[in-house]
Amino acid sequence: MSVRLSALSGALLMLGFGCGQPASAPQPAAAPEPGAAPGAAPSTPAAPAESASADTGPIKVGILHSLSGTMAISETSLKDVALMTIDEINEKGGVLGRKLEPVVVDPASNWPLFAEKARELITKDKVAVTFGCWTSVSRKSVLPVFEELNSLLFYPVQYEGEESSYNVFYTGAAPNQQAIPATEYMMSKEGGEAKRFVLLGTDYVYPRTTNKILRYFLQSKGVAEADIMEKYTPFGFTDYQTIVAEVKRFAAGKRTAVISTINGDSNVPFYKELANQGVKAEDIPVVAFSVGEEELRGIDTAPLVGHLAAWNYFQSINSPENKAFIEKWKAYVAKAKLPGGDKRVTNDPMEATYVGIHMWAHAVAQAGTTKVDAVRQAVAGQTFKAPSGFEIKMDEKNHHLHKPVFIGEVQANGQFQIVWKTEGPVRAMPWSPFVPDSAKKVADWTYPWLCGNCTEPKVALAK
């Protein structure tokens, strides 16, 4: 309902602007200079998903996030922030003089449904781009659809790497922008010099792959096999008694850190159980890759103080861009009367969504069209002054964002105190150098590679 309302208000705004500033609307809509945009594009056939409607109507933008089910705890706010960003762009006149029109669908934490909804967005609604997915399993589920129909997906969440698709821009972190630095921090003096590691995750592709990379990484640092414990639980799991007890037993004798890739609402019973069994952060710190401000909103944070999270953005970052971002968000929450009200927070995937939508909008303006092949060329290399305070860039080659890394400790108020950060943005390495098989692979979408997972260039034009 609220979606429709905001779309309506967007439309009303559009009318208001159309009357007030007649000059701004039609001007950039003039036909893109021929040759300028497609010049660099590879010879992909014209996309069937191309918006067939007239170039003057609103540009449809798909939003594909679970609004119900186990992932709703995390994904709902991404839908909200996407609508906020679209509102923001529309208030400034839209892109190419056309308004953005969000199309929100709910794949309900159901992975095959993600693929169906994605197909519906591309073929039925004819969206120019889609912002969506959280879990890697949902991304893997929609990937063939985006590739088959040659449409663009902006994926805003940290993930396990080992992938690079020509149809996806990854605005979340790759392992070397989150998991590896966090593990290094736990091994460092200030992180507690952990000697033993518990790799705890939800049972699906992201935790399993991340933990595989971390295992190789830990081995390369001389951690013995016996000092690594790996455990998985199903989605929606609630009974963490045995696991917490096992962790406590494993931790006896050597400094131990838990690296948690638990996703979704299972985190609530997990942290509750940790607190109930008296596990304190100074004894066994838990560093989580999928727990941010939004997830902590549903938990009594007092017993969690000191547990950690590694992200590329925290709400507590002190930068003018972040202040503006938070203010915009608070204003939007109040305006759209979102549930939670003034308790709503910002977090890393929200920032990534915000950055992604802006980069896409800039790229469309640069390309002068919403055509996928032209926009893709324009997105690569875009820069944006992000709320994290850094000017971050979409890598021209591997289509991942350069991101700074922050490690924060949970505070009693549900925010994070930043205890470690990199000096600047780090370039993503989608193929982990620690995994023997993927160390050889290259993700490079420029000539002559043009490939997401090759060991040698794919295109060799005759001289």
Binding site: G69, A72, D106, P234, D239
Partner: protein, 546 residues
Amino acid sequence: MAERYLSCIGRLIRVGLTGCLLFTLALPAAADGGELGALIGSLSASDRARAGAAVEALALRKEPEALTALTALRDGLLLVAADGRVLIQRTDGLYDAESGAKVEPAPKADVIVMNNTLRRQVTPAIAALSLRAPDHGVRLSAAVALSKSLDEKLVPTVRAALADEKDPEIKRMLSQAVAQADITSSDPKLRLAAVQSMGASADVAYKSSLAVLTARDAAGNYGERDPQIREAAESALSRIERKELFTRIVRDLFYGLSLGSVLLLAALGLAVTFGLMRVINMAHGEMLMLGAYSTYVAQRLFESYLPSAMDFYMVLAIPLAFAVCMGVGMVLERTVIRFLYGRPLETLLATWGISLLLIQTVRLIFGAQNVTVANPSWLSGGYDLLPGVVLPYNRIATVLFVGMVVAFVNWILKRTPLGLQVRAITQNRGMAACMGIPTARVDMLTFGVGSGIAGLGGVALSQLGNVGPELGQLYIVDSFLVVVVGGVGKIAGSVVAAVGLGTINKVLEPFAGAVLGKIFLLVFVVLFIQRRPQGLFALKGRSAES
């Protein structure tokens, strides 16, 4: 042990503060500022490494202010004013951490933020400073804290305290603390004493340092050259392992009981609606969900109208959940289910449709997101049964609660006219009707009671997991599992099946993991049903097969 440890920490804080107050009275303005003042001042340094060094230095000081300042730091009561003065927050105002004098008017000051590195340094520092406290409990808790891990710099302090200590229990703890340093000593006598004291404690924390002694390196040499010490280490290790095994058995049994009680709570309502009435009730999970949401509503009502009695919102939640679910159950029975008796397939589809309807209704009213049901404070935390086995209070409460619900169901079935009629109808519906039992009315009430009991299950589940519209879907399969394994129509069967399945699951989990453990359990159930389709407790008699 840790229970005592916790209460000791509480006492430690109190004694620390009183000690400081006494000192303050005796010496209104501490004469000796100097270095102590500088150290306390550095606690507020934005460079946390400097603050850490200050904590380590303060741990070796004699002045009581050191302990007071560190205790305040740990509890988040140490503040820093704009002019750099370090202050302690007490209920009646701010006190200067160095002089102990009250600061008036209270300046604007910020709490000194802790991080893990600092927390790890503060705990042993406070313990080291409390080793000479007059209170026995404070000393003991300090010794326990140090026995877990001991920093090299504190070894002389602990050794000195050990020499002066009279109490045997504290002495034992302190010698364990010292043993961690002595086990790498060059003196074989000290090493032997260390190994023996570790063996006597049988604490799993020392397993890895003992294992070093008995392990062979690449050249085939033992970590410990002295065979006598090695033998002692081996026997110490085997003691630790025996104790570990015992701990593990106790732990798995309790966790099994606790999981079993959750399964039983989820299944009891179904044992009535499916077990006694033979309604394949796919909407049973949603009754659990409604019960959980009733708890949420009760909590919100208390939050708005009776915030002082928040801890007792259960008093309202339990009857509310029962009443709501019973009401919904009776309405369902009257409007849908009664037309479908004897047609299992239609019942299955209809109740499944109802379940979707209920999920969507809740989603419209409360939103698709999970709602927060906070544990009352008396359900947070846990009881330390043994070192390594914590029984969380919410789990203990669940076990007790399920006991009460089973007793309640039993009372209804065995001691009330309704129960008599239900049992009569279960055995032979036609005959019961001929005897003048109003079967339609009894059906409605029975379905209502079954649903109400499911609501009670929901109250308990809201304390353990997440409350969302799909809550019921998580438990519906488990519920049917329990009822079918237990034997349809027998409450006692459900009890045995739930506890049995819970225990098997928990025993398997450490070996197989949570995912595989569940799969093994399902395989086990399939095999069991193949062998014994009627379940554990079968109904006997001529009507049983109908």
